[in-house]
Symmetry: C2
């Protein structure tokens, strides 16, 4: 079965396509559709609004994924604006904000919105962890070099893609989608 | 003439209503209309999209204003997400990001979008200045305590409303709107 993924981010596409392949889904990257992103504290709402708008353009079953890093000592910052904050402040900016801060708890959240008529579904998953003292590792993207998932000592950027996908918020939200597709027996007919 | 201002921010409403009174406009605060805010690097686009959506709900001539603080050493951060960053990091977070940074240039930008059928207009104004070393003053709101406009030594929060409105980005964008209304002779008939 074939499903479109509206994203300009090649890394995200690669992560997602590896996970959904386990469910027999062939994911196709869609970069041409302009992405409508609203400002909201809810990633689920941001992703669903974007998916609906993309569906109106494309007319084919698709998913949109939005993710954010929520740092407790910073009242959830950068949250839904993680991508903008990564581009402007980077990992260094986050580390500077946390200088002298002892509680470094954080979580990554991923919201995967699927518009597969007649269905609209959003799958949300989180992975808890802490913010490292300094960036480590050359894999992954975004804030991966400063995020250490609970149960490990390495940052996401120190793991290979398969290892990261064992923990990752995005992989888990995508697996929820995969299970849902399987349980609904949504096969080539609908997709 | 009567014009609606879609905003939940009482401070903004007071600033704006004082300025537009100079042009014979009676500004009415509109808090009930849900505000559609998109993610964009352009305040003008954010304000215009919100104004169009509000007009579809209300059906009366209205304005929406969006503002942001752009700090050069932080690649424009917090920019269009200033309100979110103020709520999470506050002035202290901005000062921490600028610790040890010599170039403290910044500007405030304001975009006022007006939907007054058959017209749609956006007025954009900026005020340049620097980020203070520490918060000063008890007036104003948001990042006012750390912004010193060029040509003065006081922060916006150390000025009274009338003084601030002599410099302010918001007041200047609103005056552009006022002049435009006057030049078009848009009077009670249309509003």
């Amino acid at each position: 079965m074939k499903l479109y993924f509206a994203t300009g981010n090649r890394h995200k596409y690669e992560e997602a396509s590896r996970v959904l392949a386990e469910y027999g889904v062939e994911l196709v990257q869609l970069t041409r559709v302009p992405k409508l992103e609203i400002q909201s504290s809810s990633l689920a709402e941001i992703a669903l609004t974007a998916a609906r708008a993309a569906y109106l353009e494309l007319g084919e079953p698709l998913i949109v994924e939005d993710a954010g890093l929520y740092i407790e000592a910073l009242n959830g910052f950068p949250g839904p604006y993680s991508s903008y904050v990564y581009k402007t402040l980077g990992c260094r900016g986050i580390l500077k904000l946390l200088e002298g801060v002892k509680r470094r708890d954080a979580y990554f959240e991923s919201a995967v919105a699927a518009v597969i008529p007649p269905y609209e579904e959003v799958f949300v998953a989180r992975v808890r962890g802490i913010i490292a003292r300094e960036p480590r590792g050359g894999e992954g993207f975004g804030f991966d070099p400063i995020f250490v998932p609970r149960g490990d000592e390495r940052t996401f950027a120190e793991m290979g893609l398969e290892e990261k996908n064992r923990y990752s918020h995005r992989a888990r939200a995508l697996r929820m989608l995969g299970e849902w597709l399987r349980s609904r027996k949504i096969k080539r007919a609908q997709l």
